[in-house]
């Protein structure tokens, strides 16, 4: 009902571009932050906010809204940008991002109110909360879906696997987890820190509806969400391979967790994004 009607892939790409531009500007205002992760996840957030999720910015706490938990709470620039572009708050509010006293903190917080469903930032906790929301939705015949975004680094936390086993045991098919597989953690590229072996097989063996996609390809993202909605037995995990810095040639493939990012660098980035497709 509150979902944009059948939007085009081009429209979603256009929205993703806006999120990228905001991300660059927001991070550069502060001089440092999660620009790489934001650029990498812009396509996923565009698809979630402008196509997939049934939400109403006028009523952020509408009881049948689809829920989104961003367990990677530090990916806050792109998330807050998406809230702004979707109409939750104005540009003036967006520009308070990370300023003293602002509710738009560098780690997304419930101080902001809905649609923030949980305060994460301490990694590995979001999936458990999402599982709880799904169980309650089933118990109370609530029609909404719950989405949770985890980073691949978070999978190192044991709690994720406790939740993983539990979720498939409870057959909660109203749960869709997106692993923002950017291979980026504090110490750099995850293969140099802790490597993930056979991620697809691991989730599959836990009896999850496991889908692997290019997380920067809008068609694949939308198709994956369609596959999720057809599933009626198992929770779904979309392993979405994303590229840090996606969309800006001189930032792509730089595995930097909390990068220093000047206004000048941002200007070049925004210019390239504006001129790009």
């Amino acid at each position: 009902m509150n979902k944009p009607n059948q939007v085009s892939i081009d429209y979603l790409k256009e929205q993703a571009k806006k999120l990228r531009i905001h991300t660059c500007e927001l991070v550069s205002q502060r001089g440092r932050g999660y620009v790489q992760q934001g650029l990498g996840a812009s396509d996923i957030f565009s698809a979630l906010f402008f196509s997939e999720m049934n939400i109403d910015p006028k009523f952020p706490d509408w009881e049948n809204r689809d829920r989104l938990i961003v367990s990677t709470a530090h990916n806050s620039a792109v998330y807050h940008a998406a809230l702004h572009e979707r109409g939750y708050f104005d540009k003036k509010t967006l520009d308070t991002y990370c300023k003293d006293g602002s509710k738009l903190e560098i780690n997304i917080t419930e101080r902001l109110g809905k649609p923030v469903e949980a305060t994460c930032g301490s990694l590995g906790q979001g999936l458990s909360v999402a599982v709880g929301i799904c169980l309650s939705a089933i118990r109370n015949n609530k029609p909404f879906n719950t989405y949770v975004v985890l980073g691949d680094g978070e999978l190192q936390e044991g709690q994720v696997w406790e939740a993983a086993i539990y979720a498939s045991n409870m057959k909660i098919s109203n749960l869709c987890m997106i692993i923002d597989f950017n291979e980026l953690q504090v110490e750099g590229k995850s293969e140099n820190a802790i490597e993930h072996f056979n991620l697809f097989e691991r989730w599959n063996s836990h009896n999850w509806n496991t889908i692997e996609i290019d997380g920067n390809n809008m068609n694949e993202i939308i198709d994956a969400f369609e596959t999720f909605k057809k599933e009626d037995q198992r929770p779904t995990v979309i392993i979405a391979k994303t590229l840090p810095g996606k969309g800006v040639s001189f930032l792509e493939g730089i595995y930097s967790h909390q990068m220093f990012f000047s206004r000048k660098a941002s200007q070049y980035a925004v210019e390239e994004l504006m001129n790009g497709k």
């Binding site: 917080t109 301490s122 504090v186 070049y268």
Partner: protein, 333 residues
């Protein structure tokens, strides 16, 4: 266009090496890193474990010097504490690194059962003490001291000055108990070390009358600043006491200082429940002392992400707050 590209590259280079370093733009003095490396050179049993916070905990320096004795544990604190215990039980001395908030919040059970109870030779380093981080509530440690105080066998240290870092680590190494060191990165390498401090004992930095300010870690400088302001303005010398060791506590030494004053102010970068203020109120109550105590610190509330100056002001962890209390007390003193 090519010139423009070149400019971008230059701009990026100035900002730091993106491909390998994520958090450190300029060379840092590695006060802690150098100290641990020095100790590792002396004692081959020392190893360093780190839960994916290499740069914020200066473990890049340790990894550079001892790549074989550095273990990247991933974002997995509970596992790290268990592994630390296992290594310690097999003859190693383990320094385990994460942020303060993730010690007691993520791994208290593992620390209790595998480190505190068996007295494993593990030294836990918690960086980002208290609310002194803009990363917000998830990263702000406001109850770590309270948790570790109530855990038997644990030592708790919070060095306030770089000259106390090595002595504190040596106290931890020489103790038969495991230790938790609450760390703020120091920005200047020490040339001298403070040989006066003793485990369990408070350190008197200024001796005055009527009113004593007890502080630990980042609040010590705040207390000193307030005392010097008050001395300047009212010609009244206050005592300032640094509690760099929050456990064990030599109650007699504390009681001696408290007894010389009518009023005590505690100021801490921690919840006022369970931390420094509670240590003092325990002593005042159980020893039947006469002093009245005012506790400054986080007043049993969660904070938020913002710059430290802003947060310390907002939550009244400041010299202004001390001076305000002094002014209210002046009539009584």
């Amino acid at each position: 266009m090519e010139n423009e590209q070149f400019d971008i590259q230059k701009e990026l280079e100035v900002l730091g090496d993106f491909t390998t370093i994520s958090s450190v733009p300029q060379p840092v003095p590695y006060v802690y890193g150098q100290t641990l490396v020095k100790l590792m050179k002396k004692d081959h049993r020392i190893v360093s474990l780190c839960a994916d916070v290499q740069w914020p905990t200066e473990n890049d320096y340790i990894k550079k010097h001892f790549p074989d004795r550095y273990y990247q544990m991933g974002i997995a604190e509970a596992n790290m504490m268990g592994v630390a215990s296992g290594m310690a039980k097999t003859g190693d001395i383990v320094f385990a690194h994460t942020f303060s908030a993730f010690t007691n919040r993520r791994a208290l059970d593992q620390i209790a059962m595998q480190i505190a109870y068996p007295k494993a030779k593990v030294i836990i380093l918690g960086f980002l003490p208290g609310i002194a981080t803009n990363l917000g509530v998830s990263h702000q440690a406001i109850e770590d001291i309270a948790c570790f105080r109530s855990l038997p066998n644990m030592n708790i240290f919070e060095p306030y000055h770089e000259t106390q870092l090595l002595p504190v680590i040596e106290m931890a190494l020489n103790s038969s108990n495991p230790s938790y060191i609450r760390m703020k990165k120091f920005d200047k390498m020490y040339t001298d070390i403070d040989k006066t401090i003793q485990i369990g004992k408070p350190q008197i930095l200024k001796e005055g009358s009527e009113l004593a300010i007890f502080a630990c870690g980042m609040t010590v400088d705040i207390a000193l600043e307030a005392a010097s302001e008050i001395n300047k303005k009212y010609n009244h010398k206050l005592s300032v006491v640094n509690v760099f060791c929050l456990k064990p506590i030599d109650e007699i030494s504390f009681a001696e200082i408290i007894n010389k004053h009518k009023h005590i102010i505690s100021i801490e970068n921690h919840n006022v429940i369970g931390g420094l203020g509670s240590i003092l109120s325990d002593i005042i109550a159980t020893k039947g002392l006469n002093a009245q105590l005012t506790k400054l610190g986080v007043q049993d509330t969660f904070a938020e992400g913002a710059e430290t100056d802003y947060l310390f002001k907002k939550y009244e962890i400041s010299s202004e707050a001390i001076i305000k209390i002094y002014n209210n007390l002046k009539k009584k003193l």
